[in-house]
């Protein structure tokens, strides 16, 4: 007989954990829109943001100042990433250099964080909600910090959908994504659009770092890499470039992970994520909500 309480616990926790993956997947989408580049430094960006906040807090700045300084710092790093490791490499459409370049920047940030703050996990204080703040839903305690991440992911999805479909900025991004040279001819500052997309992606990493770090309670230099991989699977599952896909993909992945862990084996929890990645690429490479690209010959 099915224990509904147990199943509900797994599903609710899956949604919560999945919302973390969604938040990371949103960050992947922004740079994908303009350059078709998946920024594999996104996870270390997230870690670096958390570390920067911790540093500014330890200096004695209030939360709001620490967050603003962190956002400013990570924007600069985002610009450097785009200028140094992406722009020179995306000129050639067949180049795969951006994969190694963004990954290289990520590993560099990880090493830099180890050098500056040490290799050990550092405690991250509660932000907005304490770790003991819960709200009961259908008899299950839902962490308010997780719900905040879920709400933020939903909000980001709505804003992104609105921007892409209703604003001139969204159209510019689509144009740059399709053909940056043609977009330039049409008067769109392609390079600026790309740079701004990397700044926005870095800012999203900042938001993710700020909201996710209190859930784990500790931040170590390898913190971002581990969850970035699952965020990447969520982005591919939902459809790379789709905001709706990022949200639904993340939550679907989280729920599947927890159900597999609860009913089959906890050892298979993360393994199933990669099985999904392989399956989705084999059966539906554009993901659940991605747009199938048609190449005219």
């Amino acid at each position: 007989m099915i224990d509904f309480q147990f199943m509900l616990e797994l599903i609710f926790m899956g949604i919560c954990v999945g919302s973390v993956y969604s938040l990371i997947a949103h960050g992947f989408n922004i740079t994908f829109w303009t350059t078709k580049v998946v920024n594999f430094a996104h996870g270390p960006f997230l870690m670096f943001c958390s570390m920067l906040i911790l540093m500014f807090l330890s200096i004695g700045f209030p939360w709001i100042v620490a967050i603003l300084l962190e956002m400013f710092s990570i924007s600069i790093i985002g610009v450097i990433l785009e200028r140094v490791s992406v722009r020179p490499l995306v000129k050639s459409p067949t180049s795969m250099g951006w994969i190694v370049a963004t990954l290289g920047v990520g590993l560099f940030l990880q090493a830099l964080a180890t050098k500056i703050w040490g290799a050990q996990a550092l405690a991250f204080p509660a932000f907005i909600f304490e770790s003991t703040d819960y709200v009961p839903i259908l008899g299950i305690s839902m962490s308010l910090q997780y719900l905040l991440v879920l709400g933020t992911g939903l909000g980001i999805m709505l804003i992104m959908e609105l921007v892409m479909k209703k604003t001139i900025w969204g159209k510019a991004m689509k144009a740059v994504s399709f053909d940056p040279d043609l977009a330039s001819v049409m008067g769109i500052k392609s390079k600026s659009v790309v740079t701004i997309s990397f700044i926005l992606s870095a800012l999203l990493a900042g938001v993710a770092g700020l909201l996710i770090a209190p859930i784990y309670g500790n931040v170590a230099p390898d913190f971002g890499m581990n969850i970035m991989v699952l965020g990447f699977v969520a982005a591919v599952l939902g459809g790379m470039g789709s905001s709706k896909g990022a949200l639904i993909g993340g939550m679907t992945l989280g729920v599947i992970e927890k159900l597999v862990g609860g009913y089959i084996s906890t050892s298979a929890e993360h393994g199933v994520a990669f099985a999904i990645l392989i399956l989705i690429l084999a059966i539906k490479p554009e993901g659940l909500f991605g747009i199938k690209a048609v190449q005219k010959v």
Partner: protein, 411 residues
Amino acid sequence: MNKRYSKIVCGGLLLSVFMVIGTACSSSGNQVDGDPSETIKIGMTSALTGPYSEYGEGNKRGVELAIQKWNDDGGINGKTIEVEILDDQLVPDTAAINLQQLLDDEEIVAIIGPAGSGPAMATVPITEANGMIHINPVAQTPEITYPNGTDHGPRKNVFSFALQNDVESEVLGSFAGEKWNKIGLIHESTAYGKTGMDLVEGVLEDKFSIEAVAREEYNQKAPDMTAQLAKLKKAGAEVIVCVGLGADLANIRKGMSRLDMNIPLVATNGALSLPYKEGAGDLVVGTIGTMIGVFGDDPLSPEAEEFAEAYSEAYGKDRYWGDRDNPQLFMSLSVSNGYDAANVLFEAIKNADSTESSKIIEAMENIQNLNGVNASYSFSETKHHAIDIEHIGLFEYVKEGDEIILVPYEK
């Protein structure tokens, strides 16, 4: 689009490869040169950098403090002590390569081993084959010292100053078995976690005829353990017994709270570490953990007092020391174990009046009731480990005003 996806998948695969090898590539040395006839040189491989460097760096500090103490007192029989320390980042292969490099140095007369069970298991067969004395400061798996089980003899060359799994599990299992009937078990998926929990299960079955209601495992640094905890809850556990490290325990404790599991958490020494206390915050109150009890004594023993003074003079009251006037309990496993290990080794070299491994080993086996920080040390031909049940205490987090402190658990 499909080509782009192929690239993305390649990127994902590259990422996975880098994540696996990322921490395994660097090593650093700390070498002191001197006249070989006037020096006694010790070799050490430990995790000095990387995500698991807390024990390795602490052990290094302990060994260096002991060397400083002996050299200030004139060295061993007039000879200055030197140490060459290589970084293994707790990677078994790197530790084995480091060890080979140390053994190639003919001046090195003794080895102080790595700060974890994996690399320790990778290095002991090499020193055993070589016959070189090998000191195990922290790795908890009993097989490092007793390859055929603790009811059989030890490796001739290995002496352990660690809190062995069997000793810790005996205390943990006995405590849980005495107090609860429905016990849920959870452990990390490493050799440390698995062997430790096997031993706890053995104690529960043999001494109390209790079969755990469920047993779950997790990978170190797993971001979420909800599924494991939900299963333990479903099985009706009245207590959670855990073998794991501090940061993971914090995650477990938060997960328990999220699932409204208002039952006690009893865990190995990781529960008394700073990452647990910092990570779980106020939720630590009520958690019970096992630990070498020396820094819980009030007043401290003269040896612990001397060590504490030397440490604070050299490093100040830092992260290893903790946030109170006396060193935190956890320092007995991160620093003072290395300090004791080096002191006892030097005493044996002094007593042997020789740097031949066979004579140092004989002198180690003859050491009786030598007072150190963590324990009074006695070894024999059949007993090569130092820390026993009588050295272990149970400690509990309690709230005192606004502060959360650790106090000896009152049964």
